[in-house]
């Protein structure tokens, strides 16, 4: 396991080395493609500014993710119990899902004064649907035999949910969460691009726009680099949760000796 991690880290280091080497070898323009060394110097020069922006963007993404977890699970459970509500809500959810967030974002910025809240709504709207769809699929995939088993003992609806339906849906929910964690970040960035700098301290998307104005290409790369980093952080948090919940029983964590 440690070997594997070391291996993938080595690949990244090698990639950076080639990049750096190619920059000097072919004498590339630093304002088109700065070498990694220059990017890291820029990051450390702007460390405070970029770090605060990173926190802002991460905060929006995590809040959006948290909101979508709460709202999509409650929706999924309501849909699970009522076919009627599910049928009547499905068109709305589909319309919202297929309309690109970049098309809705200007509207949201008109309706909502606070740019932080507006960006949060953007990120939430993108992250919400995969999670909802996956959770519904998970709830519906409950085995008939398992349901019969608990019904035989006269389990209440709450007990059926607690002992059978929700644990059964958890792998689906968690794989939805993996998709949504990436999308929440995309929503947070796209939202800020369209809506404008987040009130308080602007996020990484605004740092990119700002560096564009200033023609500070290394800083721009630095911001992009930090966006990837926050994506990796989010994804790994979800992966850890998934591991903790499923490792004991789910076949995806089955150890093969």
């Amino acid at each position: 396991m440690i070997n594997k991690k070391l291996h993938s880290l080595l690949v990244i280091v090698l990639l950076f080395a080639i990049w750096e080497f190619a920059f000097h070898l072919f004498d590339l323009k630093w304002y088109l493609l700065p070498p990694p060394s220059m990017i890291f110097v820029s990051i450390s020069n702007n460390a405070f500014l970029l770090f605060l922006s990173l926190l802002t963007t991460l905060k929006i993404a995590i809040l959006a993710l948290g909101l979508s977890v709460i709202i999509s699970s409650s929706f999924a459970i309501i849909f699970y119990f009522s076919k009627f509500i599910e049928k009547s809500m499905t068109p709305i959810t589909v319309i919202l899902q297929v309309t690109p967030i970049i098309a809705i974002a200007p509207l949201i910025s008109i309706w909502v004064d606070d740019s932080e809240v507006a960006t949060l709504i953007c990120a939430f709207l993108v992250a919400f649907f995969p999670l909802l769809a996956n959770t519904i699929a998970g709830l519906k995939s409950t085995e008939k035999n398992h349901l019969e088993l608990v019904r035989l003992y006269g389990a209440s609806k709450i007990q059926i949910l607690r002992y059978v339906v929700i644990p059964n849906a958890s792998p689906y929910f968690l794989s939805g969460l993996k998709i949504s964690s990436g999308l929440a970040l995309i929503g947070a960035i796209v939202g800020e691009f369209v809506i404008g700098p987040i009130s308080g301290h602007s996020g990484l998307a605004y740092r990119i726009i700002e560096s564009g104005y200033q023609l500070d290409i290394p800083k721009m790369f630095g911001a992009v680099f930090l966006i990837s980093l926050s994506g990796i952080i989010l994804f790994n948090i979800v992966r850890l949760i998934s591991y903790l919940v499923l490792r004991k029983w789910h076949s995806s964590y089955q150890q093969i000796d």
Binding site: L149, V150, L152, Y153, G154, Q159, Y163, P167, W249, H250
Partner: protein, 275 residues
């Protein structure tokens, strides 16, 4: 006196004689599925007496499982009556403690370990006492699962999983155990071992067992009464009773066992030809 088919009069006489010992009685029970092509059942009449080991024997697709699920209220009959005179159970799961079901597959919840799987029925009844805990360990010892409490279903073999399933059925201290081809997925040796254990547990706990199977050997080996079913539509073809017969040591290898197997086997063949 060997194994024999009961005539209608003999059956009626027996019902009169042993009326007080009737655990369950099915009167003209029929089931027709409208939307699915699951096998239908027609005019089923049968009685289950106290401490019977009753086998319902039939080929695949004759509605044995449906019959069993109707008896425990998971499926509602289209017409007819299912009575459990000793409990207030009537066509629905109202008094579930008296009755447990062992499914065709172990049907364990993969997200719970062995202990929690066995405890599940008690959790549903909201029994969380120290006494309940003790009972669970008694059952775990009884079915030979000691030391496996922390295992998850994916770590268990088929035979072990079935033991957990049986333990879960026994944990509520049921009076009646309904079993739906519980050992059909196991190999011969395991199947025999578990069959013997079931007989032992039945004796110890004074259980009434209703056992659905397609195996002639299993039904003859285990039961004192056998209902042979025919299919399309599923109904009772013949009824056998050898309650008053002593089963010898090593019964499985006695001429008596083979003779009875042949009789039941002939009956099943006739049931299939008679469709």
């Amino acid at each position: 006196m060997g194994l024999r088919i009961l005539s209608e009069q003999e059956r009626q006489k027996k019902i009169d004689d042993k009326y007080s010992a009737i655990i369950a009685q099915l009167n003209g029970v029929s089931k027709k599925f409208i939307s699915s092509n699951a096998p239908s059942l027609e005019d089923i009449n049968l009685e289950v007496y106290q401490e019977d080991f009753l086998s319902i024997l039939g080929s695949s697709g004759c509605g044995k499982t449906t019959l069993l699920k109707m008896m425990c209220g998971l499926i509602k009959p289209t017409s007819g009556k299912i009575n459990w005179p000793t409990s207030n159970f009537q066509n629905s799961v109202e008094n579930p403690a008296n009755l447990s079901f062992v499914f065709q597959e172990p049907n364990l919840l993969p997200w719970m370990n062995v202990y929690d799987n066995i405890k599940l029925p008690l959790k549903i009844y909201k029994e969380n006492s120290y006494k309940a805990d003790e009972e669970i360990y008694d059952i775990i010892n009884l079915v030979g699962l000691k030391g496996f409490e922390e295992y998850y279903p994916r770590q268990l073999s088929g035979g072990m999983s079935m033991r957990v399933s049986i333990a879960r059925a026994l944990v509520t201290q049921p009076k009646v155990l309904l079993m739906d081809e519980p050992f059909s997925a196991l190999d011969e040796t395991r199947r025999f071992d578990l069959s013997q254990e079931i007989l032992k547990i039945k004796k110890q706990k004074k259980l009434t067992v209703i056992y659905v199977t397609h195996s002639i050997y299993e039904s003859v080996f285990l039961s004192n009464r056998i209902y042979v079913m025919q299919s399309n539509p599923g109904k009772v073809f013949e009824e056998f009773d050898f309650s008053n017969q002593e089963k010898l040591e090593n019964y499985r290898f006695t001429p008596q066992f083979f003779e009875q197997t042949k009789i039941v086997s002939d009956s099943l063949k006739r049931a299939q030809n008679d469709q």
